[in-house]
Each structure stands twice: as structure tokens, then as C-alpha cells.
Symmetry: C2
Subunit: 171 residues, 2 copies
DNA sequence: AATATACTTTACAAATGTGTAAAGTTTTTA
DNA sequence: TAAAAACTTTACACATTTGTAAAGTATATT
């Protein structure tokens, strides 16, 4: 379960734009520079965001991009859905049916129930977090939680490495 | 942001095993049959779960797999981490640095903060949900939340299709 | 001991996701 | 109107993930 590259980089471009100040714009080249991305890739990301209505493009010389809506009206959910689609794929039961036409659990599936429940839970967080929050100050508790999470990830990695070195199961 | 195929199918195999009853075992062929998966793929999934210590393999004729721990001691977090790695990649800032050696935001990154906060939030849900819960009765509220989520996904799809038909932005 | 059952490992083909490249279109300025 | 700046589109190469195939190893039964 992970955030895709496009989701993350797309979000970063939006945050960079958000921080410019109201009605200020930036060109693809400038945004690429700010985020350390290639111009071509930034171009693709902005193109997706534009098609989804999150940014407005001004073409021609002197053009650039602006955020299309007030920052507190764009939620993290809007951004991630724009860049990566809904948390649950509506075609899920066809795509993840294994070898069969239909998933064997189609009518009653506890795995779907729990993953759907998870998606709903995640959505609460995502809709409660606006671009305004991300760009200009996260709600209290966020940052500490983030740091804890990085510690957990590092601990897991260390353990993993230990296992590998001991030739003990591992990867 | 999505659940990977291995995470979902691996979880399904575990739930299928969990439902067998205590100390009962099933062979790869049987599990594949139960879940509508190929024997080869089921084989790979069970192999991952075994290496991570979530299932025990009994080799040879009459062999099969059992869950390695009491069901209430395996959380959904354990399962997803075993199958897909930690929610945040410890190498994240190197991997997602764009064109540069280091991410431009390395020292202070609000996107990392918010995504880390999200990961911590998700982890609460995952650690609070055990294999016992999933296999034998989800906490109240889950199922309704899951259904709502599917409605949301379908609505998004319908809207998307509408846009495409109108030639209006879309994809 | 031979055979059948069943887990294990490795290699590979197909699909998806990531990122680049190049040619095209639009708008402003000189 | 020509040129420069800047967005747009399409095609493609590379990497990762997904799923399959085949050969190998272990154990129980006859």
C-alpha cells in the first residue's frame, strides 16, 4: 500500500504553487526548478492537474499556472483522487478476481468489507486536510505522528537487514 | 494510492486459512481453489507469508499450511507490511528526490509531514483490526462504511464517463 | 525403494507505471 | 508578421509489478 510517484510529485507541485501567494503564477520551468524535477515530467504532472480542474493554465508568453480554487477548498482527497484515482477502484471485483471471471467472494466478501472500511477511514483524514493546511501549517499532532512513522519504518528496515545478515529468512 | 495485488490476494489466502478452524491445514491447491487463484500464484503468495512468519508450511505428502499465530495476534498491519513493506519507505527521500541527489525539501518538507501523518493515522486502523475480526466478524460500522465507499467510487466513475462522453476534459 | 503428494526456488513473459523526448499550438512582444 | 516564451500532445524507453512455468526438494504411503 503506497503513495504513487505521480501522487506525491503532483502534490508537491500544487503545494509549491499554493505557497506563491494568491493569484500569483509560475511557469513549468519555474515549478520544475522549485521541486527539483525535470521540465518534461513537471509538464506531465501539471497537465493532469489541469485536466482535473485543480490548476488553471495560462498559455503563451508570460503564461504559467495558478491554483484554480481557494486553498481551503481543495482537500488532500481531491488531490490524490485527481492524480491517482479513487481509493477503491470501482472495477475492483473484475480486476482482482484471480483466474475467474468473477471473484469467488462476489456476494459476500469480508476482505472487500475491511478494505472498503479502511478506504472510508482514510478518506476522513484526506477530506479534513486542505491544501491550505499542508502549505501553511499542519494541524497539531501531524508532525510528531509523521516523525514516529519514520522511526517505525527505520526500525523495520534495521530488523530486515539483521535478518538478511543472519541468513535468517529475510526478504 | 492503492492496495497492491499481492497485498489483497495474500490477505485473502490468510483469511481463507483463518476460517478453516484452529489447527486445520490446507494445501496450496486447496487454497487456490477456495480463492479462485492459480496454483502457481497461490504458491508464491504463501511462500511470502511463510518467510514473514505468518503461516507455517508442512512439507511432503499430506502437508499444507496453517496460520502461525493465534488469529487475534495477527493484525491487518502485520499482514500488509509482510506482503507490501512498511507504509512509508525508509528510503523515500532518496527514491523520490526528482532529478537531484537529494530532495529539495529534505530538511523541512510539509508533504512528507502530511504523508507521514497519514501513514500514522492509517496504521492505527490497521493495528486495531485483527485477522480474527476480518475472518469472523468485522467491528460494527465497518460494513456500512465499506458500502458507502463503493458508492463514492461508482459515482466518481459515472461522472468520469459523463465527462468523456461530453468530450469535456476527462481522462 | 518407488511413487505420489505437496512445498520451494528460479527464471521468465506480460502488464503497468515512471519518466523522457520531440514536435505542435498558443500568446505576447518587438 | 516574425520570433520567443510557454503550454500541450503523443510516442517511446526503462523499471517495477504481476502472474506463469518448470524443475527441484521433502515426506508419507505402498
Amino acid at each position: 500500500m503506497r503513495i504513487t510517484a505521480i501522487e506525491e510529485y503532483g502534490l508537491r507541485c500544487l503545494v509549491a504553487l499554493a505557497r506563491l501567494g494568491p493569484d500569483e503564477q509560475a511557469s513549468i520551468t519555474e515549478i520544475a526548478e522549485m521541486e527539483g524535477l525535470s521540465v518534461a515530467y513537471t509538464s506531465k504532472l501539471l497537465s493532469i492537474l489541469r485536466k482535473k480542474g485543480l490548476v488553471t493554465a495560462i498559455r503563451g508568453r508570460g503564461g504559467g499556472f495558478t491554483i484554480a480554487l481557494p486553498l481551503n477548498q481543495i482537500s488532500l482527497y481531491d488531490v490524490l483522487v485527481a492524480l491517482g484515482g479513487p481509493l477503491i477502484d470501482p472495477h475492483h471485483c473484475e480486476k482482482r478476481s484471480g483466474q475467474l471471471e468473477q471473484c469467488v467472494h462476489l456476494k459476500s466478501c469480508s476482505v472487500q468489507d475491511v478494505l472498503g472500511g479502511l478506504a472510508g477511514y482514510i478518506q476522513e483524514f484526506l477530506t479534513d486536510t486542505s491544501l491550505q493546511d499542508i502549505a501553511f501549517g499542519l494541524p497539531s499532532g501531524f508532525i510528531q505522528r509523521a516523525k514516529n512513522q519514520i522511526i517505525i519504518a527505520n526500525t523495520a528496515l534495521k530488523k530486515e537487514l539483521q535478518n538478511v545478515n543472519e541468513g535468517d529468512s529475510g526478504a
